[in-house]
Amino acid sequence: MAYQFDFLSVLDYTDVLLKGIAVTAQLTLTGGVLGVAVAIFGAWARTQGPAWLRAIVGAYVEMIRNTPFLIQLFFIFFGLPSLGVQLPEMVAASLAMVINLGAYSTEIIRAGLAATPRGQFEAGASLAMSPLQVFRHVVLRPALQKIWPALSSQIVIVMLGSAVCSQIAAQDLTYAANFIQGRNFRAFEVYLVSTVIYLLLALLLRQLLRGVGRQLFARRAR
């Protein structure tokens, strides 16, 4: 018997899809904001921190960038309980995303800092600012502006990577797709619809980040 496509059956589960989109958005928001915060600290540590901190952050960055996100997620969710650390799946998923984005973004922000002319640091020092003040008030913002496109791309990549969080039963969009497919046996239709939704989410996220960039760096627009 021929396989008859049936896209309308997916519509019966619109509420499940909407919940999935909401959870994906939540994970991305948490991961994005906290991940960038971690990265700013990491980039500072790598450029201006003491040697031991530089080594630790360096090791963290290398570990995360050279292992798959899936394994990082499984390690946090299934592995940590053996050490007594039991994290529910939303916390585990968010943590994994923060750690993942943090590592990649540390490198991106560090590149931005490295491209800052030495004159900026010297000018700040000549105004009797401490290195931390120079970092905060003089060099960070231009560095962020410089690497904002690359950072935005990385956030979109992590949002797409969040699809994997469905594997620990975080109820994101992929989990919703799997759930629907398990009930109506329409795997291809469901996955196609979900893929198109992800594409739209990625486009929206890019626009949003562009807007955020404009807001944050408007005063210094060149």
């Binding site: 990082q72 299934f78 592995g79 797409l160 795997a187 291809f188 979900s194």
Partner: protein, 218 residues
């Protein structure tokens, strides 16, 4: 049931890691070939080819790799093609790799000064000849570092093939976890094996970047 010693765990993981390496190579080589074709079309003079490949790249860069794997797996089979998990994973990863490599290489090609195009054009070279003899050789020097760096992403991408049932390193890990009841040890071992595969490539990429001094040439 049999008890799993640390050696049992490591041995079984290493055996599964062969498939990770194989799938990575297939995706990287296949993705390179397809990526080159996509690159040529993306930079061609015909607007239709440029737009079609732009769409292809947007789709594969703008959707999760996991979804691409699911679609390859369930979708291809519906069109009468019998697709085992390794083949679906291979196809999906190849197409995904090709999209990213094409963009990386496009960046490298566009970094070549227009003067090179004009000079070779004035020698009555066709587009393909220009690419082959003048542009690509120069672009390749710049491209080596990021291409090698992307190899790391490919290896990490193969981990998702476990979700559609292909028994590579990650899948072996989850199976052994439930047979041995040692999730911390097993996942740590899996992570270390991926690290052992990826880190040399990352370092090579950094080395090549410095050697060819690519970013600061122009």
């Amino acid at each position: 049931m049999i008890d799993f010693t640390l050696w049992d765990i490591v041995r079984n993981l290493l055996l599964a890691a062969r498939w990770t390496v194989l799938l990575s190579l297939v995706a990287f080589v296949g993705g390179g070939v397809v990526g080159l074709l996509v690159l040529l079309m993306r930079t061609s003079k015909r607007p239709f080819l440029r737009r079609a490949t732009w769409a292809y790249i947007e789709i594969f860069q703008g959707t999760p790799l996991l979804m691409q794997l699911f679609l390859a797996f369930f979708g291809l089979a519906l069109f009468g093609v019998d697709v085992p998990a390794w083949l679906a994973a291979g196809v999906a990863l190849t197409l995904w790799t090709a999209a990213f490599l094409a963009e990386i290489w496009r960046g490298c090609v566009e970094a070549i000064p227009r003067g090179q195009w004009e000079a070779s054009g004035s020698l009555a070279m066709s587009y393909v000849q220009q690419m082959r003899h003048v542009i690509l050789p120069q672009a390749m020097r710049i491209a080596v570092a990021p291409t090698v760096g992307f190899g790391v992403q490919v290896i990490k991408g193969t981990a998702l093939a476990s979700i559609i049932g292909f028994t590579e390193l990650s899948k072996a890990g989850t199976m052994i976890v439930n047979a041995s009841f040692q999730p911390f040890t097993v996942y740590a071992a899996v992570a270390l094996m991926y690290f052992a595969l990826c880190w040399p490539l990352s370092q090579a990429s950094k080395l090549l970047e410095r050697k060819f001094h690519a970013a600061h040439r122009h």
